[in-house]
Amino acid sequence: MPYRIEITLKEQLSDAEGESLCLKAKNYFNIDFQDVRTIQIITIDAALTDEQVETVQREIFTNPVTQVSSLAPLPIDFDWIIWVGFRPGVRDNPGATGVEAIEDLLSYTLKPGEAVYTSKRYCLKGNTITRQEAEKIAGELLANDIIQQWKVFAKREWDPETGIGFVIPKVILDHQPEVATLAMDSDETLERLSDERSLALNPMDIPTIRSYFLKPEVQQQRQKVGLSDPTDVELEYISQARSDHCNHNTFGGRFTYRNMEEGTSETIDSLFKTYIEKPTLVLKEKKPWVVSVLWDNAGVGRFDEDHHYVITGETHNSPSNMEAYGGAITGIVGIYRDPMGTGLGSRLIMGSYGYCVGPRDYDGDLQPKLHPRRLLDGVIEGVRDGGNKSGIPTPFGQVLFHPGYLGKCLVFVTALGIMPAEINGQPSDQKTIYPGDLCIMCGGRVGKDGIHGVTASSATFSKNTPAGHVQIGDPYTQKKMHDFLLEARDECLIRFITDNGGGGLSSSIGESALFSNGCDIQLENVPLKYDGLDQWEIWISESQERMTVVIDPQYLDRFMALSRLHEAESTVIGTYTDTGKLNITYNDVTCAHIDLDLLTSAFPQWEFEAVWRPPVMRGFTEPVLGKPENFGGLILDLLGRPNLSSKEWICRQYDHEVQGTSVIKPLIGAARDVPSDAAVIRPVLTSQRGLVFSQALIPMYSAIDAYHMTTCTIDEAVRRAIAVGGDPEYLGGVDNFCWPNIQHDPEKNPDGKHKAAQLVRSCKALKTMCMTYGIPLLSGKDSMYVDGHLPGRYGETHKISALETLQFSVTGTIDDVTRCLTMDAKAPGDMVWVVGLTKNELGGSEYYEHMGQLGLNVPVVDAQSFFVCYGQMAKAIENRLVASCHGIYRGGLGIHMAMIAMGGELGLTVDLSKVPAQDITRDDKLLFSESAGRFIVTVSKENNKEFESLFHGQPAACVGKVTVRPELSIGSVEGTKLCALTVEQMKKAWKGPFGDLI
C-alpha cells in the first residue's frame, strides 16, 4: 500500500513560494489571490510498515521547528486547490534523494519498482477566482503538460479524507526488448522506413548506407554473426553520427557564394575547415599557450606551469523552448560534462549564460508554446539550480530580448575547467585507448530520455508512458560523479574519458572506439531506469549525467571501490578492440556489427547556395530623423529599454562566489548593482594569477549585415576583457553560432540563400578578426534551425526566424589579479577620457530601434588600428594609470557614461565637442552611435600626463571630469548644456522594467 505524507510550513511562518505565486498571478494575469499556502507531498510506493513510515515522516520529511505534516490530507483552508505532479519517467530529483534518506534511516533497500514520488498541492484563497483562472494558474504558471500533470479542485470537489488520492507516476512499459531489421531492397524503401521510424536519415546519405550493406564482403561478415539486413540499432547509430548535431554537416558543407554587389562568385568547401580550423592551427603555432584544440570535448590553454584551463560552450535551444526549466538545467549540467570529459578530466571552475528570448511583455497575436516571460523565468531557474547545485560559480551572463526569438529561444551555456598540466608525469590533455581496455558507463541510468528529440505530442501520453523526451538535469548525481572522477583521475586510473550528450552511448562509444579501432559492447549490462527499453533505445538514449570512462582492466577494482565510496554508479559495459568493428550484443545475440570507418567514408557533402545582396541593394537607407530636444528624457527612456536595463534579479540568483575565487563580480560599483564589463576569477587559490572571461551578443546588426555583426561581437567581447585588465596577447575565443535554416526552399524557406550568405560572411569575418586580434578559437559549436512556426490570430501559422546570432566568448590568463579594475567612476576630480573614434554608425543601434528605425550605417570594425589601441590600454592598466575603464557598447556613449556614473554614484561632466569623432557633429549621433573600438576611462590627475603621452597619436581625448555631485552633465557640441541627470534619476529609469523582480 502506498503512503502519502503531506507537509506544510507552520501557520506563523510566511510561505515565500505561495507569496511569489500570488505576485506572479497578479503581475502576469491580473488575478488576485488573498493567500496561497503550499503543501509538499511525498508519496511512498514501497512495502513499509506504518511504524517505518511514521519514522521517516518524523525524521526526514518534517522539520519540527518549522513544519507540520500528516499522513492524511492537511486541513488547510482554500477556495481552489491545484495539485501538480510529474508525469511518469520524468526525473524526480527530490524523490530520488528521498529514497536515499529512507534507505539510510531504515537500513532497508527499496525493491525494484518501489519508489518515492514528490508532488505539490497549492491551496489558493480568493473568493473571486473562477475555475478558468485556477486552470490558467495551473497550466501557465505552475505546470507544463510536457513533464507534469495537474488537477484543479473546487471546494465542493475536494474530499478531505481522500485528498489527491494516490497518484503513482510509475513507468510501466510491458514490452519485450527486440531488435528489428530494416529491409533495403531499394533506396525508396529505406527512405520510407527511415521516415516511419523517425530515423531522420538524410536522403542523400541513403545510397551510401545501402551500398555499404550490399557489399559482398560486408554481407559475408554479417552472416557470420547472424545478421543480414541492417538492424535498427545500426541505422540509429548511423543516423546519430550523421546528424547535423554530431557531424556539423552545415559547417562542413559546400557553399556557392555569390556577391551581387561585386558580381563575384566563389565556392567554399567547408566553412569549418576554411574559416575556423585553418586560422586556429596557424595561431596555435604562434601561441605556445594553446595546448589542445579542435579534437576534444573542449579546448585547452595553459594557465600556468602546473595547470591548464579548459573552455567550451554550446546551446540548448529546442528543449528549453518546450520546457524552459528542464531544458535549461539539462543544458548547463550538460555543458559541465564537456570539461569533465576533456583530456583526462578537469574540475569545473565557472559557467556563464546567454538568453535570447521574445519580448517579456509580448502581447501580440502569435502564440508561442511558452510565453517569453514564463520561458525566461524557467530558463533562469534551470540554470540557477544546475549551476548552484553543481558548486560552480556563474559570474557572467547576458540576456537579450527580440521578437525573432519568439519562434525559438536561445539558451547559451559556457563552462570552464582547470586541470593539472601533468598527471603522474603524463600530459593531462592527451588520452588514448588500447585494445582490451574496459568501457565503463558512470553516473545516471538509462531511460527513454531525449530519444529522437522533442517530437512527441501531448496526444500520445497515457497514464504510464514515460514523458522522457524532455529531461530534467540532475546536478546532484553529476556532482557526485564529478568528485569521483577527479579522484580517479588523480590516482591515474583513467585512460580516456568523454561525456554522454547528444546521441548518448552511440556517440560517446562510437567516437571513442576510433582510438583503439573497435569495441565490443554488451548492451544488457547498461543499467536502466525501468525495464522494457529496446536495444536501439538503450544505445541512443540521451539520459543525462553520464560519462563514458575507459580504464586499464588492472585498475578495475580500485576504480569500482572509489565509485562505491562516492556512491556514483559505474558499470562495465564492454571492451575496446582493434577489429575495426563496432560490435554490439544483447544477451549474446549480435544486434550491431559495423565497420567504424563507414562513417569516415564518402558520404555526400551538403550543398548550399548563398547569395549576398548588400543592404543598399536591399533598399536600406539611413532614417531621416531631426535632432531631438529633450536629451534628458531620451537618455532615461533608453536606460529603461529592456535590452539596456538592469537585470540584477538574474545575477543575484546565481552563486558567483562559490570556490572562493571571485575577483571581478558580475555586479560592481558603490551599490554593487551595475554590470561589470567582464568577470575575473582566481581559479588556483594559492596563485595570484587569474582568468578573465567575457561574452558579447549583438545580433541586431545582422538585420543589416552579419559580417559586421560578427566583427562587432568579437570586438566587444575582446574589449570587455581588456577593460578589466585582460592581456590581449593571451586571449582565446569560443564561437557559438545560432542560425536560422539556410537551405533554400522556394516555399518553406524563400530567403534561405540570404541566410546562407549571412553565414558565409559571418565566418569570413570570424577568420579576419581572429587573425588580426590573434585569437585562437579554443572551442565552438553551431546550432542551426532557429526557426519556429507559431499560430496566429486566425489559426494560420507564421514562420519566425531568429536573427543570425553569434555569441562570442573570450577568456585569457592575467598575471596578477590585483592589477584588475572595474568600470565605476572612483574619485571626484579624476579626468574622463574617451578612447576610440565615434563615427556616424547608428545602423541597427538601440537609439534607432527606439525610434522605430533600422538604418544602414552599421558599425565597422577597423581591427588593425583597434588592436594597437588595445595594446596601449592594456599597458596603461598594467602600469596602474587607470582608475576605471569601460567599453562603449550597445546604446553608445550616452548610456555608458550613465553606467559609469551610476557605478561610482558620482557625477560626470562631459563636453561632447571634445569627443574624438569622424564625420559626425550632431549631439544625438555622438551620444548614441555604436561605433566599435571605444572606451571611457577615468584617470587621476597624477596619472593624467602619463596616460596622455601613452595615447599620443591615438584617437583619444580628455572630455571631462568626475564630480562629487552625482549627476551626469553633458555639454553639447555647440557649448550649451544638453542635459543633467542625477544618478538617482538614472537608476530609477534603468531599474524601471525589472527592478522589482527578485
Binding site: E19, I60, N93, A101, Y476, L685, T686
Partner: protein
Amino acid sequence: MRKKPNVLVLTGFGLNCDHETAYAFELAGASSCRAHINALTAGDISLDDFQILAFGGGFSWGDDHGAGVIQALRIKTNLGDQLLEFVAAKKLIIGICNGFQTLVNLGLLPGVDGDYTQRSVALTYNDCGNFRDQWVCTKINSDSPCVFTKNMETIDLPVRHGEGKFYTENQTLRLLMENNQVVLQYALPDGQPAKGAFPHNPNGSLADIAGICDPTGRIFGLMPHPEAYNHVTNHPDWTRNRTFCEKEETDDVKRLGEGIVMFENAVSYFDD
C-alpha cells in the same frame, strides 16, 4: 614550534565548498584534510585524529527535503556517539551555510543546556522567495563565547543561499540572546542592526541572526561564507578602496581576506 591542529573538511553528496574551506584553514595555519562523508562513516578515517571538524557549504543531497536535513540524518545514523564524543572532547566544529543547516538539524546547535540532540532552531526559505548571492555586513557579538570570532567586531562576507532564514520559537530566541549564543547579526553598512531590512538582512532572519554558537562557543554555525573571503580581491569594494589606498601608500597591499581571521581564531584556540 606549535603543532598544527588537524581539520577535517567533509566532502561528497553535493557538498561543494570543500576546497576553499580546506585552503582557508591552511592559510590560518592548520593542516586540512578533505574527506568523503562515507570515508568517515565507514571508519576509514577517525574523528580522533582531528581537532576541528568543518561542515562546509554546498547542496548536500540537492537540498531536497530541507537544506542539511539528509546530511544530518546520515551523520546521526552512521556516526552517532562519535560526534558527541568529539564535542565532549572540547574540540571545535564549524558549520558554514549548508554546514550550519546541518548542525541545526543534528541538534549540535544551539545545544542549549548541553543537549546536543534537540532540533530547536531552523534555517528555512528566504523571505525574498529565492536563492540570493550578495555580500552582507555583519556585526559580531563581543560578549559571545564563540571561539571563532574572538576580538572581531564586524565583518563583510558573502551569503549565497535559498534557505537561510533563521527561525525559532520566542522562548528559544530569548535564551540564545541571554546566553550570548547569537554571534553574528546582519547589519547596515554603518554597523547598525539591519532590523530585518532587505537586502541588508537578506533572508528575513529573526533578530537579523546570521550565525550562532553553542553555550561553550566551540560549535559555530553561520550562513555567510568566511572561506570565500580568503583574498583581498574577494571583497566587492576592493577595486574601489584600492584606488584610495594607492593614493596614500603605493604597495604592500595585504592580500589575505578578512574571512581568514575566523579560521585563525580556531587555530589559536589550540595554542593554550
